[in-house]
């Protein structure tokens, strides 16, 4: 998928624990995004980045933080996981003018 790797692919964690998801790209794209996918809600933007150390909030950013210390890595952190954060998380990069390429996703279950 155009050099995007998400890790881990699956994770089960307990309520209240911190969780970090990683997105790694190999093509030096400036824009990176984190979405969550839930039935009935489609894809909703959590946070995005427009460069190293440059990030901004999306529509569902509460309970999430991000960091981008290198062009190739965009990290999503759940400081204290809750059951409502059980979801499939997708990282995306923007290629060309407006087109996105998505990673294969991370399925996160909070128990």
């Amino acid at each position: 998928d155009a050099g995007i790797t998400q890790s881990p692919r699956h994770k089960v964690t307990e309520t209240g624990t911190p969780v970090t998801l990683r997105c790694h790209q190999t093509e030096n794209h400036r824009y990176m995004y984190w979405y969550r996918q839930d039935p009935g809600h489609g894809l909703r933007l959590i946070h995005y980045s427009y460069g190293v150390k440059d990030t901004d909030k999306g529509e569902v950013s509460d309970g999430y933080s991000v960091s981008r210390s290198k062009t190739e890595d965009f990290l999503l952190t759940l400081e204290s996981a809750t059951s409502s954060q059980t979801s499939v998380y997708f990282c995306a990069i923007r290629q060309g003018d407006r087109d996105y390429t998505f990673g294969s996703g991370t399925r996160l279950t909070v128990v």
Binding site: D1, Y31, H41, G42, L43, L45, G58, S104, G105
Partner: protein, 112 residues
């Protein structure tokens, strides 16, 4: 507030039929309308996209119809095949805004 409304939520069509998925948007500043296709266990992938200066765009068996006055656009799949069974998302974005807004998705099943 949902800026891009997609329907139906699910759709079952026989092989060879023409499934139609509809989307409506509210923000008249949107000027780019892509469709993404997602297979189980995979991330969404760009299928086809249209800009509002044209009313229709075809790529193979996939066609987007665009109605600017009604603020609606739709995806048609000609001669549908079981391999087209997937979830389809419409989306919209506007110039100068780095974010893509998605519809809620349509789960399409093509039965043999």
């Amino acid at each position: 507030q949902q800026q891009v409304k997609q329907s139906p939520q699910s759709l079952i069509v026989q092989k060879g039929g023409i499934p139609i998925i509809n989307c409506a948007y509210e923000n008249t500043a949107f000027d780019y309308f892509p469709w993404y296709q997602q297979f189980p266990g995979k991330g969404p992938a760009l299928l086809i996209a249209i800009r509002p200066d044209v009313s229709e765009k075809k790529e193979g068996r996939f066609t987007i119809s665009f109605n600017k006055s009604a603020k609606q656009f739709s995806l048609h799949i000609m001669d549908s095949q079981p391999g087209d069974s997937a979830t389809y998302f419409c989306a919209a974005s506007r110039a100068g805004n780095e974010k893509l807004t998605f519809g809620t998705g349509t789960r399409l099943t093509i039965i043999p």
